[in-house]
Symmetry: C2
Subunit: 453 residues, 2 copies
Amino acid sequence: MRPIERRIDGYLSENLERYIEETAHLCAQPSISARAEGVAECAHLVAQMLEAHGLAVQLFPTPGAPIVYGHAEGASPRTLLFYNHYDVQPPEPLELWTSPPFEPTVRDGALYARGAADDKGELVARLAALDAVRAAHRGTLPCSVTFVVEGEEEIGSPHIASFVQEHLSLLRAEGAIWEGGGIDPEGRPVLTLGVRGILSVELSVQTLARDAHSGAAHRLPNAAWRLIWALASLKGPDERIQIPGFYEGALPPSPLDEQLLDALPVYEELERQIYGVREFVRGMRGKELNRAVFEPTCNIAGLSAGYQGPGMKTVLPARASAKVDFRLVPGQDPEDILGKLRAYLQQAGFGDVSVERLGAMWPAKTAADAPFVALAARSGAEVYGRPALLVPLEGGSTPIYAFAGPLHELPVVFAGVGYWDNRAHAPDEHVRLQDWLNGARHIARILEGFAAL
Amino acid sequence: MRPIERRIDGYLSENLERYIEETAHLCAQPSISARAEGVAECAHLVAQMLEAHGLAVQLFPTPGAPIVYGHAEGASPRTLLFYNHYDVQPPEPLELWTSPPFEPTVRDGALYARGAADDKGELVARLAALDAVRAAHRGTLPCSVTFVVEGEEEIGSPHIASFVQEHLSLLRAEGAIWEGGGIDPEGRPVLTLGVRGILSVELSVQTLARDAHSGAAHRLPNAAWRLIWALASLKGPDERIQIPGFYEGALPPSPLDEQLLDALPVYEELERQIYGVREFVRGMRGKELNRAVFEPTCNIAGLSAGYQGPGMKTVLPARASAKVDFRLVPGQDPEDILGKLRAYLQQAGFGDVSVERLGAMWPAKTAADAPFVALAARSGAEVYGRPALLVPLEGGSTPIYAFAGPLHELPVVFAGVGYWDNRAHAPDEHVRLQDWLNGARHIARILEGFAAL
C-alpha cells in the first residue's frame, strides 16, 4: 500500500464513528417517495450535507421531488460523477422491524434503519471518501467531482432523464459511479457494468359494462378469457416472445462479455434454496443461468379479474388486467417495443385489449475494456483482497441510460456498501460498518486514480 | 273464472296487507349464511311460521344451518313439494340501500328489504296460497303439501343432497315447485324446467417459495405464466373446451326443447343495453343465444397473481390462482369432469397446476311434456293473462338434482314472485306487491289442480 492510501484508510477509520452518526442523522429523516413523505425535508438535509462536505450545491425542483446537485473542482478538470438517491422504500410491514425504521440503531456491527444501505449509507460513504482524499492531499481534490442525488429512484426516476437533458453542461463527466454496488456472498467486490432496460405496461380488457352471472357464460364474453388468450399469444411455454420484431437489434454478448459471464460464480444452488426452485426457466443449469441475462424477458407482475376471495362466486368478470414488464437488452428500445406490442395485439385479433404504458427505461452498458472499469476493478481488488467480479449486464433496470447516452457514452460502474443479505427494500435493512468502511476506501481509491486515466 | 278461484283471489286480496306484514317480519330477521349471521334465529322463526300456517314442523340440524321441514295432509295423498330457503345474500354495500336492508319498508307499491324477493317474500306467498286454498275448501287442502326451507342456498346448498338421501320417505312427492320463479320483462310467467350443473374449482400454481424481483425473469419460473398457459390449454378463442371427453354424454335438446327454445323471446337488445355487449360469444345473434344454453361452458370467475395496485411493481409472482366454473348440461357429471380435468392437465404438461374442488351440482331437467308442467303453464296463463314461457334449461345451477334424482324423477318447475329488476343479491332488493299477489294466485291454482293430475 502506498503512503497516500494509508493516509486515506487511516482517516476513514479514525472518523468512522462520526460518519456513522451522520448516516444515522440522514436515515432518521423519512423520505418515502411512494407517498411523498418527508421528501422535501430530506432534499434540504442532503443539500446541507453536501455543502458541509465542500461541494457547491444547487437544488433543482422537478414536478416530483427536488434533485440535489453538488460540484467541487479538483486539481484535474476530469470529473467523476456520482449518482445516488435520498428517497427510500416504504418501511412496511413495521412489525417485522427489530428497531423502528426511522430510529437508526447500531447493533452487532451494523447500522439498522430504512435507507441505511439503500441509499443513504452509500451516499455518506462517498462523501467520506471525498473528505479522506482531500485530507490526504492537504485540502485539494486530485479530480473534479459532481454529485447527483435524486429523490424518486424508488418510484422509477420519472424526472431524471429530462433533468440530465436540460443540464448537460453541468453534468459533463468522464466517468460515473452508480448507486447500489457491493460484495458478493464470498466477499468479492462486484462491479456491474450494464443494466437491462424495461417497458412496463398494463394490459386490460373490458368486455361488459358490469359483471354478470356465470350462468350466462355461453352468451356473454368473459374479460378474463380475453386477457388470457392475449397473454398466451405473447409467449408460450417455450419462453420465446412472439411479438414480430421483438428481438430485432438485440445485441448478443461480446466475446469479452461471454468470458466475464463464464468467470462469474453460479448461484444455482443458492437460488434453489432461497426460492425453492424445482426447475429454472427453459430447464437451464449452471453457467447458462448467467448467460441468459442477455435474453430479453416478458414477465407477468400481476393478474387481476373477478372474485379472488375464499370459496367460490359464480361471476363472469367484465374487466381483467395484467401488469407486464419486458426487460430489454442493449440494442432494444422500449418505445419501439411498445409500438410493436400494440401492433401485434391488434393484428392477432386482440384489438379489445388496451395497452397502457406504465414506465420505460432504456438498457445501458459500459464496455468491459474501458480504462475506467480497469481502475474500479484494480481498486476493488486492493480493498477487498480478492479479484473483482465484472458483471457485463444485470437483470434489473436503473436509469443509467439517462446519463450514459446524453453524456457521450459516459462509462458507468457500480461500487458500494451493499452485501447480499442487507435487506434493502425489506424490514431490518442495515449496512455493516465494515462494508461501509470498505465501500468508502474503494471510492477513495477510484478518486485517487481517476485524474491520471 | 270458476267460483273457487274467485274465492281464492278474494281471500288473497283481502289479506294482502297482513301477509306483507308477515313478510316484513321475516325479512327483519337477518339470516346471512355466508357469515352464519342470524341463521339459527331465522330457522326458528320460519318453523313458527310454518306451524302457524297449519303445517306439522320438524327442524333438522345439519353441519351448517338447520333445515325446516313442514307437512300437511290433504284430501288426496298426492303431495306437492315446495323448495325454499330462508338465508339471504350479504347486504353490502350498505350505502347503496335507500332504506336499511333489515328494516323492511313499503314504498311505490313494493316491499324493500334483503330477502323481500329472494326468498322470504316468495315463501310467504306460498304459505298464503295454502291458506287461501284451504279457506276456499272450508278448511281442507285438496292435496298434501311438503315444505323444505333450507338455510344454505346462497352458499351452494352443501347439505341439502345428504338431507334428501337420509329422509326419502318424508319427502315422497309427485311434483315440486322450486324457488326463484317470476315473470319476464313483458309480464309473461316464466316456467323454468331445468338447470345446468356446475363444477367449481380453484386452479393454483406455486413455482417459487417467495416472490422474486422481475429482473430474474430469465431464470426463475413465473407462476402467472404457468397459470395462463394451463388456462389457455383448456379453451381457446373458438370456445371449444379441449379436455378430452368433456362433451361425452352431453345431451342435445330434444325436438320439443328446440321448439320451446325457439318460441322464447330473444333478449339480445336488452342484454346489449344492460351489459354493453359489443359482440356475444362466438358472434351469436338472435335465437342462437337461447339455444346455446345447451352448450356447457368453462368460465373464469377470478384471476389473482402478484401486484394488483396502482402503477407498477417489478415483481415475479411465486403464486397464481384462478377460480373456474364449468356449467354442465344434462348427461354430464361434475365428478367425471373433475377427473377428466385433472388427467388432462397432467397429460398436457401442467402437473404443477393443482386443482381444488370448490363445489359441484348436477344438471336436472323435467320433461316439457309432463302433465305437471301443463298444469303450471295453464295456471300461469290464467293468472297473468298471457301464455307461459317454458324454459327447458336455464344457464344457472340450483340443487334440483338433490331432489329430482332420488325422488324418482320428480317433475320440478319454477314459479314465483320475481321480475327482472327486483335487485335480488343487490342493494334495494324488493318485491312488488302485485307480483307477490300474482305469485300467490299462481301457486294456489297449482295446488287446486294438483290432486286431479
